[in-house]
């Protein structure tokens, strides 16, 4: 089948990449595919089937004449990489998968200190520095898993990097994508609101739990708070990335330089803030023995960055 596709690609290479031509090529490919599969099921050998299909393609000049197209030569114009329907679907699937992985990774990063706080409180108590050290084991385990997820997702998506620079997509698939993107918008906004509400409610839960159960339950409150924030951040990451997948393909909201810049700002900010929080936590713990109070850095960091991220996303959505 690949032979047929590349044969057809070659035949159409010098034709202008108009929607009409893409559509024509898609149709002809579909026919050739059908013919090929039927020949195979008639018992023809693969090579034989390919030979017959290609020999029955005809003469490209006939189409050029009929469609009155002006022939173009490769290199005359900067042509964008072409994406077939399969490639588009593969990309969307991979994008969803890596959105899940990255979302999960971020969630683990936020849950790690939450778990640490709980283990400290209930297993070892705050005062013993041993508790602080033992509690670090699951923390690092979670972060290690998260890092693996980030790297894996990053590697998976690396081969789709070219999409950001623009791609050529057949018209039919483009309109299908547009439909999907429109259908997705209400879902995206709904979950964005859910995420923002979760984050706004999170400190409230902490206050309620502390008030109802006394100051000792503070760590439970923080655990709940961080879990809510983690869930909210997962929602932002997952639904945001799925949405961005469509938008990247369609080049809506222009994957412009300005926006890329802004995204880089967010990425850079969070990649500094979180490790910094961990460093401050460890230093204050080991050097100043401040295990009793220093965990507060995590809920504060989580809240601040989640609020920033949520507000930023919401503003960007409304701004378009």
């Amino acid at each position: 089948m690949n032979t047929i596709i590349s044969y057809l690609d070659n035949m159409f290479r010098n034709l202008p990449k108009t929607q009409e031509m893409e559509k024509l090529k898609e149709e002809i490919l579909a026919n050739m595919e059908d013919k090929y599969h039927e020949l195979l099921s008639d018992g023809k050998k693969e090579n034989e089937a390919i030979g017959i299909v290609i020999s029955e393609f005809g003469n490209i000049d006939e189409l050029i004449e009929e469609f009155e197209v002006e022939q173009q030569h490769v290199g005359d114009e900067k042509s964008l990489p072409f994406m077939s329907e399969e490639e588009v679907n593969d990309y969307l699937r991979m994008n969803k998968r890596s959105a899940k992985m990255i979302g999960l990774g971020v969630m683990l990063c936020i849950l790690a200190p939450a778990l640490l706080i709980i283990t400290n409180q209930f297993i070892f108590g705050f005062d013993e520095s041993f508790g602080g050290v033992a509690g670090l084991v699951p923390l690092f385990l979670f972060i290690a898993v998260a890092v693996v997820l980030f790297i894996y997702a990053g590697m998976e998506m690396e081969k789709y990097k070219y999409i950001e620079y623009g791609v050529e997509i057949p018209r039919e698939i483009r309109s299908m994508l547009q439909q999907k993107n429109e259908d997705y918008h209400p879902t995206f906004v709904k979950f964005l609101i859910v995420g923002v509400v979760l984050i706004l409610l999170a400190p409230l839960t902490l206050i309620v739990i502390s008030t109802l159960l006394g100051a000792d339950a503070g760590s439970i409150g923080v655990f709940v708070l961080l879990s809510m924030v983690a869930l909210a951040v997962y929602i932002f990451v997952y639904f945001g990335m799925v949405r961005d997948g469509y938008r990247k393909l369609l080049r809506i909201g222009e994957y412009s330089k300005k926006e890329k810049e802004e995204n880089r700002v967010i990425d850079a900010a969070s990649s500094i803030i979180w490790p910094l929080a961990v460093v401050i936590f460890l230093i204050s713990g080991f050097i100043y023995e401040a295990w009793a109070i220093n965990w507060l850095i995590f809920p504060i960091t989580a809240l601040l960055s989640a609020m920033f991220y949520g507000a930023y996303k919401l503003l960007k959505t409304n701004g378009r």
């Binding site: 024509l24 002809i28 579909a30 026919n31 003469n59 189409l63 009929e66």
Partner: protein, 111 residues
């Protein structure tokens, strides 16, 4: 095998005939041509789609999308009223052509 030069003027007629009963799409049409001609005429993809384009431009057929059972979307072609009229004109033309050409054809013993 018939050479495509000989049949050129009648590709449109053949396609219109196959659309008379119900709309159809590229592969189905080319398959039917092959079957009905006893595999003596196999229409090329480029010939087929040039004809579709020409017929559509002249308003003899209309195209529309239809989902297929396995989820693929295909372009189907439907004959229009003027397409039907054009088809019958071509049939009459062929009758005359046949008579004329036959005047110049000798019975040949191929053996």
């Amino acid at each position: 095998m018939i050479s495509s030069d000989v049949i050129r003027g009648y590709n449109d007629t053949i396609i219109l005939y196959l659309l008379l009963d119900h709309p159809s799409y590229g592969y189905e049409i080319s398959k039917k041509i092959k079957e009905m001609s006893d595999e003596k005429y196999i229409i090329k993809e480029t010939t087929l789609y040039s004809a579709f384009n020409r017929l559509q431009k002249n308003g003899y057929v209309e195209s529309f999308y239809q989902e297929q059972s396995h989820g693929k979307r295909r372009t189907y072609y439907r004959i229009t009223e003027s397409g039907v009229n054009y088809y019958y004109e071509k049939c009459q033309e062929w009758e005359v052509t046949k008579e004329v050409i036959n005047q110049f054809i000798k019975e040949v013993n191929f053996k």
